[in-house]
Symmetry: C2
Subunit: 206 residues, 2 copies
Amino acid sequence: MNISDKVINRLTLYHCILTDYLEKNIEYISSPQIANLLKIDDSQVRKDLKYLNNIGKCRVGYKVVELRESIEHTLGFQNTKNCFIVGAGNLGLALAKYDDFLNYGLNILALFDNDPIKVDMSLNDKKVFHIGILPDLVKKYNVEMAILTVPKKYAQEVTDFLVDAGIKYIWNFTPCILKAPDDIKIWNENLMSGCLQFTAHNKKEE
Amino acid sequence: MNISDKVINRLTLYHCILTDYLEKNIEYISSPQIANLLKIDDSQVRKDLKYLNNIGKCRVGYKVVELRESIEHTLGFQNTKNCFIVGAGNLGLALAKYDDFLNYGLNILALFDNDPIKVDMSLNDKKVFHIGILPDLVKKYNVEMAILTVPKKYAQEVTDFLVDAGIKYIWNFTPCILKAPDDIKIWNENLMSGCLQFTAHNKKEE
DNA sequence: TAGATTGTTAATCGATTAACAATC
DNA sequence: TAGATTGTTAATCGATTAACAATC
């Protein structure tokens, strides 16, 4: 069963709501409650929740604890994935400090850079290594995923290097479209694209 | 004319490709070329480009310079929007240093925090102010948008404060679903949600 | 001309919304 | 019982893909 991008995105939003309810010790939540918070349709919420094989109760809704665990299980928060950050610039360092990733199953082991000044720096128990030793560490720690935060002009070159080193998933934070073999999965993170969705939308009223 | 989220997202990707072609001094680009790079359908590319009122030439494609400018115009990269970052933690500081935003029409003027140690810090010509003076500066500089990067537990409280101060657009980087009046537009930036799309997808093969 | 590409329509596919019987 | 909610089907809506005439 394949879960679409849109459903995955909504499941993460439901997860935020459920975490909040859990902290407030509320035991049950209903689909209209979730729908109101997100301003979406309640039958859509129920349809999304069907992916989780979770059973709701008429008149009371779903158990917060169980529903939250089902989402975590379905999205794979438990099976932790190791990951390297490639490029220890501002964004790379910020992402390394962003502890929330581990809650979602993403374990950032280390950073890499080619700048000797940055090498051997340490932050949040994560060390910056020279890019040259990345292939060895990929094998040693069985890392399949890399977060790419290098300057634009090195993006393709570094991608080729990562692919050769055996990296299979690249989370691309550079504003470049990377070329890679078909079996390499690339997710282009376009920070501005989300933001443009509300700023550009206004144009229709012009 | 309303442009959907998906189209906006693709237009930003086309923009990356066009910037690359421009730097390589390539004059024309065709829809199959764009489609191949992004591994999508070429008729979809042509349909997206129709939003831009741009005219392609048979056998040669579209003029790179013109197409790029049309995208920038349609997505409003020219009409710069002022913006405040609220919360000068790791993520807030990283976003403040991320100069690329200005290319997309987003002008970050300043940061705000309630921690006296952070107040008066300065980075990239941007100063950190005490959150208390935000309402005054919102009026003074006519700021409608805020990037929310405060700790989770203050997210709702700060949102209420921003709404009272006259902020209309909130780009929410906290893992919280914010409550706000209907005329306030909120974009929930869920960094992990994109990443989960390739890690969670594998589950289908289990 | 032959071949590549655009622009556009029709066909397909998937996602959202509406509706409602079943349940407690 | 009355009322709220689930689970699910049908209807609607929108997005993607296929197809192809027109163009150069």
